[in-house]
């Protein structure tokens, strides 16, 4: 039988606010256990929540970026359950009227097409603390620093049909939230977490199969592997005539398999009800419009502009729009240098290679966009040859000078276009290599092309790469063929 997988995602993203969603505690990652757990975060009797404006604003920005409706009124609900990392015994979340309504995102498929994935809604909620299972006399330790960190939970419709599509969606979300600057999207530190609902059904069947929820997978690669494993597991069970038990499963990256979770097996009844400590939030449409107008250019729009207006290839546009800092770097270089294609070549070529070598991110680059643009201008106006330009780049990276011009000057890398000077060099090289000149002249005309390269190389070397290649070629041809 032909099987078809149906995948829906629930993505939790921590928002990059300075403080928690309902308290003024810092959200800095990696602090001493419970040093960022205030009386509110600890649910001390009598404490009350007040909503962080920034968290609300970030959620709205996200909603606008995924083409969602932002409702005029949004409310918070309580989701009641007991767990040591949940100090109040309920999670303050949104169910009845979430801040982000229905929206969508287009993902790029491998065949070059796109697919629209509907977002059911996204809501604001508070993160839980962390349970540490190291052995404290057979006990579990609870750190509540994370408790109360603002999250948005993004819930998709079950519209993805492969692990690759799911990862593409996840990457798109990642790129949007980092573009917006509302989250660092760091999966390893848990700022972005993904639960995947996976089911399979015979191809062509309308009705969905029983689904399993895979919890908290913490990298793009593992999301793909976990979903693929789960699809295969379910197909095998069904082909053996079995039935899929609806359950929550954990992915174990070491064994590359999913297994049923032992806890949270209770038939949960979360008893949602409107949180009486928080009033309905009136979202002013004018304020939403203001946020909309202030939205940065998003990855999809950037990619389009790069191809349509700047004439970049789809590939370059894709690479350069994948992260906001990279795209902004490129945009600046393109603007300052006045040559977008040249800028694209250098940013995705020499610069990216250097970043990889140093294993650093674009925002740590040792060369500013201004410096790079300055260099590219010298390439454009033939002040330096492309070979010499690479030397200038390396020198700028090594902080040997402030500007390309300065380095060109001090290193004497200026391209020599003075034909008198070049002619002298040509004469010198030809005089030193009389044997090769003889051979050249004896050779058949169609073999001569290759042989010219030798002389060009020698001349360029003698000029430290500064001789204008065009002038060199012209003079050589004249002298050799003389």
């Amino acid at each position: 039988m032909q099987w078809e997988a149906v995948i829906g995602l629930e993505i939790h993203t921590q928002l990059a606010t300075k403080t928690k969603i309902f308290s003024g505690s810092s959200t800095t990652f990696g602090a001493e256990p419970n040093s960022q757990a205030s009386i509110i975060d600890l649910a001390m009797p009598g404490t009350l929540p007040v909503l962080n404006k920034q968290a609300l604003e970030m959620a709205i920005q996200f909603g606008l970026a995924v083409h969602s409706e932002i409702p005029a009124i949004t409310t918070f609900d309580r989701k009641n359950y007991f767990y040591p990392d949940l100090p109040k015994g309920y999670q303050t979340t949104q169910m009845a009227a979430p801040i982000v309504g229905r929206g969508y995102l287009d993902i790029a498929l491998e065949n070059g097409g796109t697919k629209r994935i509907a977002i059911h809604h996204a809501h604001l909620e508070e993160d839980a603390g962390k349970s540490l299972h190291e052995d404290f006399q057979g006990m579990t330790g609870v750190d509540l620093n994370r408790a109360g960190t603002p999250l948005i939970e993004i819930v998709t419709e079950p519209e993805m049909s492969s692990a690759k599509e799911a990862v593409a969606f996840l990457k798109s979300i990642h790129s949007i939230i980092t573009y917006l600057g509302i989250s660092d999207g760091n999966m390893a530190e848990g700022s972005m977490r993904c639960d995947a609902n996976v089911s399979v059904r015979p191809k062509g069947q309308e009705k969905l199969g029983n689904r399993c929820e895979i919890k908290n997978v913490n990298s793009f690669r593992f999301v793909e592997k976990a979903i693929n494993y789960e699809i295969q597991r379910q197909i095998e069970i069904l082909e053996d005539g079995g039935r899929i038990a609806q359950q929550t499963r954990l992915y174990d990256p070491d064994l590359d398999e999913t297994r049923a979770m032992r806890s949270k097996e209770d038939a949960n009844d979360y008893r949602y009800f409107p949180c009486p400590d928080l009033l309905p939030i009136a979202v002013d449409p004018a304020y939403v419009q203001q946020l909309k107008d202030a939205l940065p250019e998003l990855p999809e729009q950037k990619r389009q502009r790069f191809t349509e207006q700047l004439g970049l290839s789809e590939y370059d546009a894709g690479v350069l729009s994948s992260s906001r800092p990279l795209a902004e770097y490129f945009d600046k270089v393109a603007e300052l240098s006045g040559d977008a294609k040249l800028a694209a070549n250098w940013v995705s070529g020499e610069l990216s290679a250097q970043l990889n070598r140093d294993a650093i991110e674009i925002d740590q680059a040792a060369i500013t966009p201004e410096q790079l643009a300055g260099l590219l201008q010298r390439v454009k106006d033939d002040t330096v040859s492309s070979g010499a330009a690479k030397q200038v780049f390396a020198a700028l990276w090594a902080k040997e000078g402030q500007t390309a011009d300065e380095i060109i000057e001090t290193k004497g890398l200026k391209q020599v276009t003075d034909t008198g000077a070049i002619e002298a060099l040509v004469d010198e090289v030809l005089a030193k290599n009389t044997a090769q000149v003889e051979q050249y002249r004896a050779a058949e005309p169609d073999k001569r092309g290759k042989m010219v390269g030798f002389f060009v190389g020698q001349i360029m070397k003698a000029s430290k790469g500064t001789a204008n290649p065009k002038a060199v070629n012209e003079l050589l041809a004249k002298k050799l063929n003389g």
Binding site: E32, L51, K53, F136, D266
Partner: protein, 95 residues
């Protein structure tokens, strides 16, 4: 409405309370009496009435995203039943 013993235990579990078998009957009776009282509501037609979660017609105020809390761990853990290395201790949690 009568709340039977099975339902009583189900609700008690959700609330993480345990009911001793000797108290089952009295709880079940008391809760059933309360449910009978609240069932009087069903005589009122409330079709189309918007539920009122808050008595005042006001909207939520928002807080500036500024750190106002400092580390109070030592102070706050003085009243905790069991801690170690700054962590609250609970019986082992199995996932």
């Amino acid at each position: 409405m009568k709340l039977n013993v099975e339902e009583l235990h189900k609700v008690a579990h959700l609330a993480r309370l345990s009911i001793h078998p000797k108290d089952e009957e009295s709880y079940s009776q008391a809760l059933s009496n309360i449910l009978n009282l609240v069932d009087e509501m069903q005589s009122i037609d409330t079709a189309g009435v918007k539920p009122m979660a808050h008595p005042m017609d006001a909207s939520q105020r928002l807080r500036k995203d500024e750190v106002t809390e400092t580390d109070q761990r030592e102070h706050l853990q003085k009243i905790a039943p069991a801690t170690e290395k700054g962590l609250y201790l609970v019986p082992r949690v199995v996932e």
